[in-house]
Symmetry: C2
Subunit: 95 residues, 2 copies
DNA sequence: GCTGTTGTTCGATCCACATCAAACATAGTA
DNA sequence: TACTATGTTTGATGTGGATCGAACAACAGC
């Protein structure tokens, strides 16, 4: 739980989850994410999300495909995904 | 949103919220929380939770009473409180 | 074999933040 | 007034973790 909260508390990782959810159920290789970090940093964030049980990786050829573990997460933390994947509006609003 | 997630991602603050929720609707002065931090650290954590909109403070005499902003939080982030205030079992379980 | 692509790992750096101790502020009480 | 209790603020310290670059590993195609 603590681990999951810390995982989603990072803006990079949150964006990562959202991009992943947006293309669901497609599995996305690490390289195609649009994020302001180098590939080593990206690899780190993927590891954190994986450890937290939020996503799963699967090797296919030279690339590693990522899948959001939606069902498992929903079972362990009901409502979490619905909450954090929300298209905020919280950034622009509140003006 | 980001601010709220970072707020609840800290174990001290999470415990603080849970202790507050456990005694609801009673308002709790800062000093009675059972946490492994000094009073200055505690004051810091209260400030973070306040900035995140999770609780409210009210002066009464020499003490400052804390109230969980349950309704407001539920309106802004539906399901969040139900999720993070859950009595985990996630610590002991998974054995 | 060699080269390019994808991702991980390692080492170093940097910074936000959690923490503490001490000083301060305010309210109550003697 | 002085003293105590409750919190806040400030300044300093330590540390986890986010980041980068370079080296490395595995795979595909030449």
């Amino acid at each position: 739980m603590q681990k999951v909260l810390q995982a989603v508390a990072d803006p990079i990782r949150l964006s990562l989850l959202r991009q992943l959810a947006a293309k669901e159920p497609e599995e996305i290789p690490c390289g195609v994410f649009d994020l302001p970090v180098g590939k080593s940093g990206l690899s780190h964030h993927f590891a954190v999300l994986r450890m937290a049980g939020l996503l799963e990786q699967r090797d296919q050829g030279q690339q590693r495909l990522n899948r959001l573990r939606r069902e498992e997460v929903e079972a362990a933390f009901p409502g979490l995904l619905a909450l954090v994947l929300r298209d905020d509006g919280d950034n622009a609003a509140r003006s």
